[in-house]
């Protein structure tokens, strides 16, 4: 059964990547941006005609489904070309196409060499991301997952700042080792299921593990329970690097600081979501009993990420580093929501992925616009930017308030759902879940710290007398720098005041996951 829609979406992006790369540097920027409108419009069209129900892995009907056996491999699980979209992946697909187009526009000013390669790689990255969020066969999904890593390595390593080599290699090593651990863990689990699964299709594995409760058996020297826990740990460790969760987050600030603005936007906006998306799809959907039994540990990781990430942000003087560490903090909320296992917890986590994608994208982009003219990102180097760049600064402040969770902006809705869900989890009749409100209460302090460092940094840099030691002329940013910021702000407010435009489908797909622990509705 081939639907062809998702294939067309990925293929057109990939072809665009090759076309741009083969073309000239002179028109690469405009060509890539124009080309990225095709997947953007395509994904919006898919959203308009979207008709999926339920969760893709738990018996739901996915939209735009294609499923064909690709490689039949004897005793090993068959590999299928299996793609489809449900309520969790649809918003992420739209987020990807929107952010890529905006990031491409934001690259016009800072990227001034080897443009065709840069824009081509970004489109290649987009193709990989679309694959990650739509693939429903583990092998295919993993190929896309890694296909995202390769262009990111070059985007940081070639176009990055002074320590780009260090940052790129650190990111590459961290995430590759994580991928290896995760891949080995998951294949061990699937091999362990033996004849219960015949393909790498994720729904089939989820069905065997969750619905039929088949116990793994094939690896002779471990028993079923150990294998499940080991697989969960390997998957969690692998995805934790990508999210990232403290203490494996250290690659992220380096990568962000060195990466050029558009790459930071995509890194924070979409790539981190790969980690949380995978956690939701694999750990929390396929192995709920392990997740439930270890809830306090997972919630503790979440709370540490939230608080420690925010404290680190408080200590930074580089604007980009501040936003980078606050991303670590924000992603902690996603983990907390997942650990809660309620409808609002899981749904809120999925919603936070989209919301944080937009807000962190806006923050990185705004910092980048300021950097384009000042050539510094140090809080201590500048003050009074508001008088020189009123529009950019205005949007930056609005975005920061979104970050802090101002009502009517998407950050508020997301964090509200997560906290609501996490508190509700305390009512579960499951061991340890009475601790959940305590974890949540601690996590809520994160918001206070966020407000602290963002307000502090803004007060120092944006307001007061203008002062900046620079040889560059500081003036208003060009329209094409501000336009993507404005678009993002509109989207953040739209999503904040009408969260149901995404939350409805998210709820549809999150319900079955929450039901696994009896926390639905």
């Amino acid at each position: 059964m081939m639907d062809g829609t998702i294939e067309a979406l990925i293929a057109v992006t990939l072809v665009g990547s090759l076309v741009v790369m083969a073309g000239s540097d002179r028109y690469a920027a405009k060509l890539a941006t124009a080309w990225s409108l095709i997947p953007l419009v395509g994904s919006l069209g898919m959203w308009a005609t979207y008709d999926a129900t339920g969760n893709a892995l738990l018996g739901g009907d996915t939209a735009f489904t294609s499923r064909e056996t690709w490689l039949g491999l004897g005793p090993l699980p068959d590999i299928e070309w299996f793609v489809g979209i449900d309520g969790i992946s649809m918003p992420l697909v739209v987020l990807t196409t929107v952010l890529v187009t905006l990031a491409l526009v934001s690259a016009w000013t800072p990227i001034d060499e080897r443009q065709s390669q840069f824009y081509g790689l970004v489109l290649f990255l987009e193709a990989g991301l679309l694959g990650v969020f739509t693939a429903l066969d583990f092998f295919v999904w993993f190929v896309f997952w890694e296909a995202v890593l390769v262009p990111m390595y070059f985007l940081i390593g070639v176009w990055g700042g002074p320590r780009r080599k260090y940052a790129a290699i650190k990111m590459f090593v961290y995430t590759n080792i994580a991928s290896l651990v995760m891949f080995v863990g998951y294949t061990a689990l699937v091999f362990g299921l033996g004849d219960a699964v015949s393909t790498f299709a994720m729904p089939e594995t989820a069905e065997a593990l969750v619905v039929e409760n088949v116990q793994p058996d094939a690896l002779a020297f471990v028993d079923a329970e150990t294998l499940k826990v080991a697989a969960f740990t390997a998957l969690f460790a692998g995805f934790a690097v990508k999210v990232p969760i403290v203490p494996v987050h250290t690659w992220l600030p380096d990568a962000h600081v060195e990466a050029p603005t558009p790459v930071s936007v995509l890194l924070a906006g979409v790539l981190l979501k790969m980690g949380t998306y995978a956690l939701l799809r694999f750990n929390f959907t396929m192995l709920p009993d392990v997740a439930r039994a270890n809830m306090p540990i997972i919630a503790a990781f979440a709370v540490i990420s939230i608080i420690y990430g925010a404290m680190l942000a408080l200590a930074q003087t580089d604007l980009k580093r501040i936003v980078a560490y606050s991303s670590v903090s924000s992603m902690g909320y996603v983990i907390l929501g997942l650990a809660a296992y309620t409808l609002y917890g899981v749904g809120g986590a999925a919603f936070q992925m989209v919301s944080h994608g937009l807000i962190s994208g806006l923050m990185f982009m705004a910092v980048g616009v300021i950097y384009n003219t000042t050539h510094t990102r140090m809080v201590t180097d500048m003050s009074g930017m508001a008088s020189k760049m009123p529009y950019t600064v205005g949007i930056l402040i609005a975005g920061a308030f979104g970050y802090m969770g101002l009502p009517l902006m998407s950050g508020f809705a997301a964090e509200f759902y997560v906290f609501l869900g996490a508190f509700q989890a305390g009512a579960f009749d499951v061991a340890n879940y009475n601790l959940m409100p305590a974890f949540t209460a601690v996590a809520m302090f994160g918001i206070v710290i966020v407000a602290g460092y963002l307000l502090l940094a803004m007060q120092r840099t944006l307001f007061g007398e203008f002062s900046l030691e620079t040889d560059y002329e500081v003036g208003r940013a060009p329209l094409h720098d501000i336009a993507p910021l404005a678009v993002l702000l509109v989207l953040i407010i739209a999503l904040g005041s009408q969260p149901d435009i995404f939350f409805e489908m998210i709820r549809e797909a999150s319900g079955p996951v929450a039901d696994l622990v009896g926390g639905g509705a």
Binding site: L73, G74, L76, Q117, L149, V150, V158, N176, G194
Partner: protein, 560 residues
């Protein structure tokens, strides 16, 4: 009706005949067109003969039949219409490539129309089955890429016809190795592949390194040939047979010591050809000193041919498969255990040595030793695990197929990597990692291709190497050898370090001030074509892998 089974060896014949043809054309020199006319007449006769005989030989459909004759016709047309002498270089390279591509086409056509019934030409001394055709495809693809790349690489050298003829004759030997079904034909084919290789390694006779490498390769090769021949004679002494299945039937339990010695010595001969421990030490020297296209040829095609012999000899002669019990009984010596040790030592040694290299070609040479270690797992993990007898047999078959699939992908990614080195040597870039810095800016297309090869060799998706490594390692786990797969995975993770070191040099590193700036003025067509072709195949492997994996699985099932 006359026996026409020999025609199933067409890929080998095509390679060999083209080699001779190249020499012949070269000998004509600037003389008249008379000999060419004779040649074309002979060619037409050959085409006619093939056209009549082939459909009978293999039951090929009209499509395969016309393909064969078209290829042959094309070859001879080339010989007829291109002026010898004035365009000698182009003619010779073109002819060689046409021969290799023709052999590839015939082998692929035979493989995809193969009905599962092996053909045994010349008594049972040779066999044409799924495995031999699959490896004929690998050898012919590598040969074709190497001849295309050599067009630029040896442009300035004399003895060009001899060079191409030797490549094609070595290719013939390797193709025959894939078909050898008796210890005698194994040995003859092995020598046919080896002797031209020695000369090719030493081809750059003005270059001390090349000559030294050739000598070293020859000495180690002669020694290992002697060991192998002695092993064969011991096996013959113990069993009274040389044909592989006859050897297996004749193993009775007598003369176990002599037979065991023989088996271990045969392992030695194979270790040389596949560049595995303990006969691996020629490889870094030979690959580094040889002209880079020859390094590509030896490390890809020659290694694959060595493995196909290993697969056939050990599974046909020294293994008894008990279908009902699902057991593999090793005969002679416990060679499965030997291969387990060799696999672990070879992959670990290859990878650790590669880490410490500061010369790129040498790093690739050691990486090639490491990959030999991975493929050895397919023999080391043979005593299959599984719940039922069928599952055990299936596991054994699949691990063998895994080795074949990895060799197939390796044939493209490794050849491409060495051909990129050939390109660098053509530009006179230098040898160390530092010399390669900044090449990404100067030659982005070739550097992208090299990046593909490096990541693919390391086993990163989305490139072919990930797929074949997953299949090989997964098959090893499926056979119950989790520890062996774990060693391989750790090794594979280590390998990413030295492969990405080159990627880093190509794209990220600034060129040190004391290095002369890169001067890249030319874009040699042949080298570029070969490198880009290899990169495209390495990346597109996911799309085309279905037929390859089916062929490998069927071929392995036929052996076990």
């Amino acid at each position: 009706m006359a026996d026409t089974t020999w025609l199933t060896l067409a890929p080998a014949f095509l390679l060999g005949l083209t080699g001779l043809l190249v020499l012949y054309v070269d000998s004509i020199g600037r003389s008249t067109k008379g000999p060419i006319a004779v040649l074309s007449l002979l060619g037409s006769l050959a085409v006619a003969g093939v056209a009549i005989a082939l459909p009978d030989a293999l039951g090929l459909g009209p499509a395969g039949w016309s393909f064969v004759s078209f290829t042959l016709l094309g070859m001879f047309a080339l010989a007829l219409f291109v002026q010898p002498g004035s365009q000698n270089r182009r003619l010779i390279a073109g002819l060689s490539t046409a021969g290799a591509v023709g052999a590839l086409g015939v082998a692929a056509a035979f493989l995809f129309t193969f009905d599962g019934e092996p053909v045994n030409p010349f008594g049972d001394a040779l066999v044409v089955d799924g495995m031999s055709l699959l490896f004929a495809v690998i050898v012919a693809s590598v040969t074709a890429m190497v001849t295309v790349a050599s067009y630029n690489y040896i442009a300035e050298h004399s003895y060009q016809a001899e060079y191409y003829a030797l490549v094609l004759l070595a290719g013939t030997g390797m193709t025959l190795m894939a078909s050898a079904n008796s210890l005698v034909t194994v040995f003859v084919a092995l020598e046919l592949a080896s002797l031209p290789s020695y000369a090719l390694v030493a081809f750059l006779k003005e270059n001390k390194g090349s000559v030294e490498a050739g000598l070293k390769y020859f000495l180690v090769g002669a020694l290992s040939s002697a060991v192998f021949a002695y092993g064969v004679s011991l096996v013959y002494g113990a069993t009274g047979s040389l044909q592989l299945t006859a050897v297996q039937n004749a193993i009775t339990g007598e003369f176990t010591g002599m037979l065991g010695m023989g088996v271990v010595m045969v392992v030695g001969g194979i270790a040389f050809k596949t560049a595995s421990v303990p006969f691996h030490f020629w490889a870094p020297e030979a690959y580094e000193g040889a002209p880079a296209p020859i390094s590509a040829f030896l490390s890809s095609a020659s290694k694959a041919a060595g493995f196909v012999i290993a697969f056939r000899v050990f599974t046909e002669a020294f293994l008894q498969v008990s279908e009902s019990a699902g057991e593999f009984l090793v005969l002679g010596a416990d060679w499965v255990l030997v291969f387990q040790i060799l696999a672990v030592v070879t992959m670990t040694l290859g990878n650790l040595a590669a880490v410490t290299q500061d010369k790129v070609k040498r790093m690739l040479a050691y990486s090639s030793v490491g990959h030999a270690g991975y493929v050895l797992m397919s023999l080391a993990a043979l005593s299959g695990g599984g719940a039922t007898a069928t599952a055990k047999i299936e596991a054994g078959q699949f691990v063998l197929a895994g080795g074949m699939m990895h060799l197939f992908v390796y044939g493209f990614m490794n050849t491409g990597a060495f051909l990129f080195i050939a390109l660098a040597e053509y530009w006179d870039v230098g040898r160390t990692f530092e010399d390669f810095t900044g090449l990404g800016r100067q030659a982005p297309v070739a550097s992208v291709a090299m990046t593909v090869f490096m990541f693919s060799l390391a086993g990163l998706p989305p490139f072919g190497g990930f797929l074949s490594k997953y299949l090989l390692f997964g098959a090893t786990v499926n056979s119950g050898f989790v520890w062996l797969a774990a060693v391989a995975i750790v090794n594979s993770a280590v390998s990413l370090y030295y492969y990405s070191k080159l990627v880093k040099a190509l794209w990220f590193d600034e060129r040190p001030d004391d290095k002369k700036p890169l001067e890249i003025s030319s874009r040699p067509v042949g080298l570029y074509a070969a490198v880009i072709f290899a990169a495209v195949v390495t990346t597109a492997m996911y799309g085309v892998f279905g037929p390859v994996s089916d062929a490998a699985i069927e071929a392995a099932a036929a052996l076990l």
